[in-house]
Subunit: 182 residues, 2 copies
DNA sequence: ACCTGAACACCGTTCAAGT
DNA sequence: ACCTGAACACCGTTCAAGT
């Protein structure tokens, strides 16, 4: 990649990060381009879709969450590891208002730029769940897709201003339901 | 209201019902007007916001759900009444893809045309919850806002194609969590 | 290679002009 | 009273033309 292109790309990512933090992931791409002082076509050249932009922006976070899951597997009880990780996943999404809807769409859309990251995340959750199930500390009638869906709906809750105040409490309610033995 | 205006209004509601069933509540208002063979301005004259259109369209359903809650209060055990009603609420929203987000916004926006209906619905749920709590069959640390939020997030799940297959199972998981005694 | 303005087809809002 | 076309300010997509 040419030096000027690299510079544009990095600058666009920085501006996009700010804009998304302020206005959520649905922020106008035109607006991001304007704020970055490049043409809209330039933004779309680097990131052909909103998902591609988000994937570049969130890749670090995705990797951190995956690494954290692996770490918790060795350092905590199966029960604590699962709940702690789920809590961190939900908390993380609150920084990117609206990302949950895109992730829910990406998890089974192989063409989405976010697909791979979502699948990796689901696999990490599935491992933690299986570990808790193995010692009888989590419902045996659940799988990784269920965990992904539960995290998604709790994350969505945090995105809705009117419902967000209940998000933490309802996380506990749902978490207790996962841990209930069958 | 003049006869021609009444006719336009009724026709618009019928067309909007079809369009929303097909494409969800985010369907283009321009498209509805086109399919109804009236100008877009005419649609907006009758229904100044998307919420106003939806309120007119859903008022009957809202009333039915409220009436059903009152009926269940007298005909079923507190526990069954609560769960049956919650299930029907979630099932109802699946007919109007995307309505949950609007309802979540309307519940604390007094200016929304959907506000009154949402408040009424929440009150009905709160009564059923209180009745179950009174006989020790529901968590005592929950209130009407929690129930509203739980229904909303389960309804949202049904709106996401990738997560919808889990919606019924996870409803049971969440329902069991509500019924768990504290 | 990389960038960009401009044209395009959409959206909801608003309002002056018609019947 | 009620309706409507048209102008407006937005959006994301696409591409020919520039450096």
């Amino acid at each position: 990649m040419r030096a000027d292109a690299r510079k544009n790309r990095d600058h666009l990512l920085a501006v996009a990060g700010t804009a998304i933090t302020e206005q959520g992931v649905d922020v106008s791409l035109r607006d991001i381009a304007r704020r970055a002082d490049v043409g809209l076509a330039t933004l779309l050249r680097h990131f052909p879709t909103r998902e591609a932009l988000l994937d570049a922006l969130l890749r670090t976070s995705f990797d951190e969450l995956t690494a954290e899951a692996a770490e918790l597997e060795t350092s905590n009880s199966p029960e604590d590891a699962l709940v702690l990780w789920l809590r961190d996943c939900v908390a993380w999404t609150t920084e990117y208002r609206g990302v949950t809807v895109l992730m829910a769409a990406a998890i089974e859309d192989a063409d989405s730029a976010l697909h791979a990251s979502c699948v990796t995340l689901r696999a990490a959750g599935a491992r933690l769940l299986a570990r808790a199930q193995a010692v009888g500390m989590a419902r045996s009638d659940m799988d990784g897709d269920d965990v992904f869906a539960l995290v998604a709906m709790l994350a969505w809750l945090g995105d809705q201003p009117a419902l967000a105040p209940r998000a933490d409490r309802l996380f506990e309610v749902v978490a207790s339901a996962i841990l209930a033995r069958t």
